[in-house]
Symmetry: C2
Subunit: 391 residues, 2 copies
């Protein structure tokens, strides 16, 4: 039931092993759900308990280790052979005495890997401090190295199949945004719009099923437009208020985000209109110069140069890499479009540029989600970026 052909996973594993060699890592302990999915197809909402994938330079196929009740899920959704699926007993879950890392260390020993250089994802949310402590204690002869974002960097260049998945996600994203724009109106409750948005996200478009987003609909109205990352309540939309929408479309965990600004009333305030114009000019300038070979920091510099004449200042990064992901983040934690990011842009990278403005006196959001082609970019959707004014 894994979604890509076995050969594609094998290619990803080969690339991962090559990077492991470059980083000086013999055994990779993968805990991020997106990385586990990327390498094997494994797909279950089981990441609220400890689980991992072991990739060893001396073994062809990775080893999956998870909770007993999820082993059948690994058998159904991953491309792994049965012999490479290991399950720990349920009394390891949220126990003060036993820890799943003890079992995982046993499996590492069983394979003779206990003296290896083991890479762990040290700043991943699914690898806790205690996980590290218990693993280190159980494997006193191993050497631990930080392998944070190792697989994430392998994920940065998409395969043609992944680009196809993201194009579908882009269609879903476009439909999701249209759904939100259609339903938002003065007097309508935020939660009723959120409900329609979620429905569109899960349903997908045409023959393609949508999937759950790594970030739920972010819908800031009125006072909340000072900040990103808020959700919804029973509050009704009002006349003469702005609404910032940061949504996405997802196909088989591949994310394409979409952000737009709406204004309910006759005419948005001048500051918002002017801010919108500046942001769009900066975004267009950035999109125009992206092609293989440019540095990521130069994308941001182009944006910055374009808007500086207006006095608008944007202190946060204006974008990041996107692809397959699970909650809590659809960003890949690799490329950040900001000063100092010396990554060289390459064909089939996928990026989300979102130069959002969240100030006390004005909020504005617009974005572009695209992949890099031979000589420029190709956007996953091309919906109007203007402020949608609804009376």
């Amino acid at each position: 039931m894994h979604v890509f052909k076995k050969e594609e996973y094998q290619e990803r594993i080969a690339k991962t092993k090559k990077t492991m060699e470059e980083w000086g890592i013999e055994l990779l302990f993968v805990s991020q759900p997106a990385n586990m999915n990327y390498l094997t197809g494994y797909d279950g909402w089981s990441f609220y308990v400890h689980q991992c994938l072991l990739v060893s330079l001396d073994k062809e196929e990775p080893v999956w280790i998870g909770r007993g009740m999820d082993a059948n899920g690994a058998r159904i959704t991953s491309m792994l052979s049965d012999e490479n699926i290991y399950q720990y007993a349920d009394d390891y879950v949220h126990s003060l005495i036993k820890h799943p890392m003890h079992y995982m260390a046993d499996i590492i020993k069983k394979h003779g890997w206990e003296k290896k250089v083991i890479g762990v994802e040290m700043d991943q949310f699914y690898f806790t401090h205690r996980a590290y402590v218990e693993l280190e204690k159980s494997l006193p002869n191993a050497t631990f190295k930080d392998a944070n974002t190792l697989v994430n960097w392998v994920r940065v260049i998409k395969s043609e199949n992944e680009i196809e998945f993201m194009k579908i996600a882009g269609q879903i994203a476009s439909n999701v945004m249209k759904t939100a724009q259609k339903h938002i109106a003065p007097g309508v409750r935020e939660c009723d719009v959120a409900a329609e948005v979620a429905k569109a996200q899960y349903k997908g478009v045409g023959e393609y099923s949508g999937d759950y987003p790594a970030i739920v609909p972010l819908m800031m109205a009125g006072e909340a437009t000072k900040t990103p990352h808020l959700t919804w309540s029973e509050k009704k939309y009002e006349n003469d208020e702005a609404v910032l929408l940061e949504l996405c479309g997802v196909y088989r965990h591949y994310h394409v985000p979409i952000a737009r600004t709406l204004y309910l009333g006759e005419q948005p305030p001048k500051l918002m209109v002017d801010t919108g114009k500046t942001v769009l000019e900066g975004l267009d300038a950035a999109l125009d110069m992206i092609k293989p070979g440019v540095l990521v920091e130069d994308i941001e510099a182009t944006w910055r140069r374009t808007i500086e004449k207006t006095g608008l200042v944007k202190e946060s990064r204006i974008g990041y890499s996107i692809g397959v992901n699970y909650p809590p983040d659809w960003g890949e934690q690799t490329i950040s479009v900001r000063p100092g990011d010396k990554t060289v842009v390459q064909k089939n990278m996928a990026l989300h540029l979102i130069p959002g403005i969240w100030l006390d006196d004005v909020g504005f959001e617009v974005d572009a989600s695209f992949y890099v082609t031979d000589n420029g970019v190709k956007q996953f959707f091309d919906d109007s970026r203007e402020i949608l004014v609804k009376k």
Copy 2:
């Protein structure tokens, strides 16, 4: 905009400080989103970057520290005074050089807390190993102690207001399950049902807005009933297959899970009917004996004794504590209904009993979500627990 009165948060903080004293902790570094929400009302999807709440025995109000763009979100949603909201610059995000913990350590020093006994949530998914390493390096004179689940244990006894919220979540849960049962039928795509379920979850019931669930709809059909934790695809439901549904209702992040089993066809297989009967008998026996004073492990023992005559064996825990939560888990990581859990049941605890069966030859799920009263339990919904047979 915080949802409870300030006094309720103050009471929760007082209880937390009392527990800190008992555990020998002077400064508590809280990173779990549910704990941050519980203590201050803070509510934003910002937990994909490092953030924290500092609770100190020598300071009345906690201190929130997060990413710059989320500080206005803290001002809007939490009950904290402006002076207790600190924000770090954006170049700390996903950087290889700077780490948010450096900034957090600076704020700890600014308050003169750098030599304190600092409790950190060592096995929480939002506190990574690197977070610990950077914090420890930046605060060489501090003593670190594991404060994992300290606030979670404070959360175990619900206030009357929280029980009211969960009753609303229970109404939403019941409606969510009815929605799923209504839409599932042979020939219907799983994703179309998931879409209706999400809509019902987000919309809520009557005047009450729903919220996003900490676990998305789990909907296992056909072969997938061997395992929990799978989601949906374009696959159409078929005749003569079972569907396991593990859903929930959420009101302001308070969760009430609901699980039921459906069969599409004339008559479910005898093994499923028999398993269902056994599970229900065991569940009823467990529910009957719960009241203040009994031990949690005795709930499981009652279940086990009731079903053992049939030969059915359930190796995983049969339940856990529920309340306010954020992805990836609606369980509180405190009480686990299994052998060895000596927690004494108290009034206003809220539990989810879900003795799910996921075997190669049969899958069955049913549950009860309830709180403990003076002399028994009160369920958050009382929908039929029988297998729903749909032709």
